[in-house]
Symmetry: C2
Subunit: 233 residues, 2 copies
Amino acid sequence: MPRALAAIGFDADDTLWHNERLFRMTEARFVELLSDYADPRDLPARLLEAEKRNLARYGYGVKGFTLSMIETALEVTEGRAPGYIVRAILDAGREMLAHPVRLLPGAAETLERLAGDYRLLLITKGDLFDQERKVAQSGLGEFFSAVEIVSEKTPAIYARVFTRHGEGPARAMMVGNSLKSDVLPAIEAGAWGVHAPHELTWTLERCEPPKDAPRYREIARLDELPDLAAEIG
Amino acid sequence: MPRALAAIGFDADDTLWHNERLFRMTEARFVELLSDYADPRDLPARLLEAEKRNLARYGYGVKGFTLSMIETALEVTEGRAPGYIVRAILDAGREMLAHPVRLLPGAAETLERLAGDYRLLLITKGDLFDQERKVAQSGLGEFFSAVEIVSEKTPAIYARVFTRHGEGPARAMMVGNSLKSDVLPAIEAGAWGVHAPHELTWTLERCEPPKDAPRYREIARLDELPDLAAEIG
């Protein structure tokens, strides 16, 4: 009898390695830079507004975030942002793109334990170029049968990826820190959806856990995954 | 006997639809915006320097180009670029990302003629998000068995794509306007490389045609492709 589970998909940012804390650190620098021009307590919300407004044009990732910071700086200074501020924002964006990848606890060990028994897939959104760099730097690339960098995480995308690289969504599991992007659409596609919460999750990725979803699970730590997968089959 | 040719890969920008002319138009706006601060004849070279410097961090695409324009504006004004200039650059970048896709002559007809006989692949680099938008808007998506948006076009990438979606590079052909990205690395991977020159090609994509390469061809128009493919087999 074939295994109930053939493929396991992993989100990358804040599931396998730290990401959101780098955005928060950069946001803190941004607030500091503009503290003479606007109430620091308002700035994160102004920046988030710009990010939301630009999402349909820029998609996800550091370059779009950098452009949204520059736009917000112009807004809050009414076009009078001094050059050194814009330059500091450009520098901060480039530093994010050069920032070393820091794995989350248990990531490498868990993938190593699972890699012999299941086909592992990395399924992430964001800047193609930057995500490829992070996969390479993470040292985790060897555990994955395929790396799929996608522009949005929809049920149709999960169905396609799990069909292309596995035995279809019904025999697949998706693991990630975002209920909205990793868990709910995977369950809607017919897969198992496993929430691995991270203490920092971007506002736009937050939502309620699913109700009456027999294929929904939550784990506190990545190293719970091998037992969970074995239980399913 | 199987066909000698199983798959045909197409570059997208300036092979199937216009792209470079939008970059040139935006560059012209950029030069105009900064004409009080620097000799307009020097500005394109200054911008190109920034693009080259940033390529390893930003990769290809409109968002990186926008960030390089802002950086160059700060440079040539010695940090005194007025807010309206930075804002105009942000606007110009966003307009590029919303610009309608204009097909090159013969693109749709040629793909339609080839689609029955060969597996057609779209292989392009650039911003994932923006390229997916352009594929959708182009109306050409239905002709392709697969769309691969890659961060670099190397022989290894061509070998992987033609193996995944075809019968390997030896039975594949790559068609594009860039000798450097579309033709030479495909030939190095063992495929046919067909150059379809475009009147505008970005400086960083230019190079000499290959010598002693029996699998190199050049066409003046896309609609020469079906005969060329039939000749190969």
